[in-house]
């Protein structure tokens, strides 16, 4: 990736992080830690990778994305708003009564949301169904699904993984946002899903382990995934939970907490500094 392309993505990802924080701050609740860890993946998917058109969000030939870790909706919503699926003012109404943006993704009411999700483990199954429909209809769209490393403790994830490989769904790409933390503590201590890469490999996936907050590695991984034939792809993206905001980084307490006014100001100041730094380069 050339430097200007990378910088563009970094600027967009910074704006995605600010949008997610804006939403959660105004909602007074929501999940920032995982929204921020996955922000670079969301940014790359919607601004570089996927064949999509925000003006035609139901196009039957579009690429699909299912946010299996649906609680990280604030990050996805901020990405969709930035991409132009809906007005960014919607972010401030996140989780409010009557708002379009629900606490977890609702495909019925939100342009750009391909599947309702939030009950962990279910999104990847729906993504497999979409990928299978593409195969049956001989369409060449691709299906992406973003999971959490805590989420994969759900047995349904492995039912879906077995299905995807058994049906040779090479149009499916599962990204595990491996930030190492879940509500009750470190993923390694709570549920112990590691080694994640070996598990997906054993289930028949092509597996790549990358730094999920590094656009060079993200691009390389998605480009490789597209070349894989006959089996699904898994990208284990090692990320930092709360990435981009100093006091949230790698802190289990920021899984599902809204910042107070001071914390909000600090976070926005930090991200604004990052943004100005990128724009000044």
């Amino acid at each position: 990736m050339d430097n200007s392309g990378k910088k563009q993505l970094q600027i967009l990802a910074c704006k995605v992080r600010m949008g997610a924080i804006e939403g959660v701050f105004n909602a007074k609740s929501g999940h920032l830690g995982g929204s921020l860890s996955a922000a670079d993946i969301f940014t790359y998917l919607y601004f570089k990778e996927m064949n999509i058109d925000p003006k035609n969000p139901k196009d039957e030939n579009r690429d699909r994305m299912v946010l299996s870790k649906g609680h990280c909706a604030p990050g996805l919503y901020a990405t969709l708003a930035l991409k132009g699926y809906f007005d960014k003012n919607e972010l401030k109404k996140l989780r409010h009564i009557g708002a379009m943006l629900q606490g977890h993704p609702d495909m019925k009411g939100t342009p750009g949301i391909d599947m309702s999700s939030g009950s962990l483990g279910q999104g990847i199954s729906a993504a497999c169904g979409m990928a299978l429909a593409g195969k049956m209809d001989k369409k060449d769209y691709r299906v992406y699904t973003v999971l959490g490393d805590g989420e994969i403790e759900e047995g349904q994830v492995w039912e879906a993984a077995m299905f995807a490989a058994h049906h040779n769904l090479d149009n499916l790409c599962a990204i595990v946002d491996s930030n190492g933390l879940q509500i009750d503590g470190a993923v390694a201590e709570v549920g112990g899903p590691e080694p994640i890469d070996e598990k997906f490999r054993a289930f028949g996936f092509d597996v790549q382990v990358i730094d999920g907050n590094n656009f060079d590695e993200i691009e390389k991984a998605f480009n490789h995934a597209k070349t894989v034939k006959g089996k699904p792809s898994a990208i284990i993206a090692k990320t930092v939970k709360g990435k981009g905001v100093s006091y949230m980084e790698d802190q289990v307490g920021w899984h599902g907490k809204a910042p107070n006014a001071d914390e909000y100001e600090t976070a926005m100041k930090e991200l604004n500094n990052t943004l100005s730094g990128l724009e000044a380069e």
């Binding site: 609702d106 019925k108 939030g118 279910q122 729906a126 169904g129 593409g134 209809d137 299905f163």
Partner: protein
């Protein structure tokens, strides 16, 4: 006049899928390693490219169906009721019901008439579970012709539907030449003024025989077949309550949460009427031949006659 056939509704379901496949190319059928038992195997044989065996993983199967429906398919996700409605309840609620996806959830081997497999497989809770999902349509057809018509109606209706199938063969009482299936509409099979029997599924043919017996004993019982448990035909049941003043419900399901309770809820709010519920009385079943079990649990003609007479103090 159609011939009388004695067939399990699971057979009729399998036949219907095959017969309708050409007219409805969006239909795809999913099963979880029970195709031989649920009769989706007929479809698998005729249309292998539209059949998806999901293996023994019902929760994933429901999610696969949701994804297929989101891409324009009309999936029939089939397993035993215990698993498609029971084990995968939360997937049905969150991945199908909430997004209002066009998925048909099919529960075969419902009720105690599963027989010898025993309590772990005798699902007397599926209707209760499915009733609690907002917008879910629940169909429990009573015979061969009704099941075939119901499958067509489910395809033509856009949205989540639950269809209940039975394992035990049942004598048909409908006529295919003029049988009309209207989603959400009950059918008055026999008019009567003394009391109303409201039956569903496997119990309808038994209730028909009960009304014949009651007639011999001088009791003029109305009989309503409720093939759509949700949305319930409120008008027809309210009218029967007003005109006959007394209701008996008959179902092969727990008396908690099924047809009986749906009827009670309606009547207690709109037209308080004494109701007696015949069903499985909040207990587990056990192994045994299906017909013997139905007798043991009071799900037979003689018990319907007894309960009806008792309700009328006769």
């Amino acid at each position: 006049m159609a011939e009388m056939v004695k067939k399990a509704t699971r057979e009729s379901y399998g036949e219907a899928l095959v017969e309708l496949a050409e007219d409805y190319p969006q239909v795809v059928v999913l099963d979880a390693d029970l195709a031989a038992a649920t009769k989706t195997g007929m479809f698998k044989k005729a249309y292998p490219e539209r059949f998806i065996d999901c293996g023994i993983a019902e929760c994933n199967m429901v999610g696969i169906a949701a994804g297929l429906a989101a891409c324009g398919k009309i999936p029939f996700a089939t397993s035993f009721a215990m698993f498609s409605a029971g084990r995968a309840f939360e997937q049905v609620r969150n991945s199908v019901g909430y997004p209002k996806l066009n998925v048909k959830i099919v529960g075969s081997h419902a009720g105690i008439s599963v027989g010898e497999d025993g309590a772990t497989h005798q699902c007397n809770e599926d209707i209760a579970l499915m009733r609690t999902i907002p917008g879910m349509v629940i169909l429990n057809p009573a015979d061969h012709y009704e099941m075939k018509a119901a499958v067509k109606a489910a395809i033509e209706y856009h949205g989540p539907v639950y269809i209940r199938l039975g394992r035990l063969a049942v004598e048909s009482f409908n006529n295919s030449d003029n049988y009309k299936f209207e989603l959400g509409k009950g059918i008055t099979l026999r008019d009567g003024k003394d009391i109303t029997i409201v039956a569903t599924g496997l119990m309808v043919s038994r209730a028909i025989k009960a009304t014949e017996e009651l007639e011999k004993q001088g009791i003029d019982a109305r009989l309503i077949n409720i093939h759509t448990i949700k949305p319930l035909d409120r008008e027809l049941i309210l009218k029967a309550a007003k005109e006959t003043g007394r209701i008996i419900t008959v179902e092969e399901h727990n008396i908690i949460g099924g047809l009986g309770e749906a009827v009670c809820s309606l009547l207690s709010e709109e037209c308080p009427t004494p109701v007696t519920r015949i069903g499985v009385k909040d207990v587990y079943g056990h192994s045994g031949p299906a017909v013997d079990l139905l007798d043991e649990f009071g799900l037979n003609t003689s018990n319907i006659v007894e309960v009806t007479k008792k309700a009328l103090n006769k």
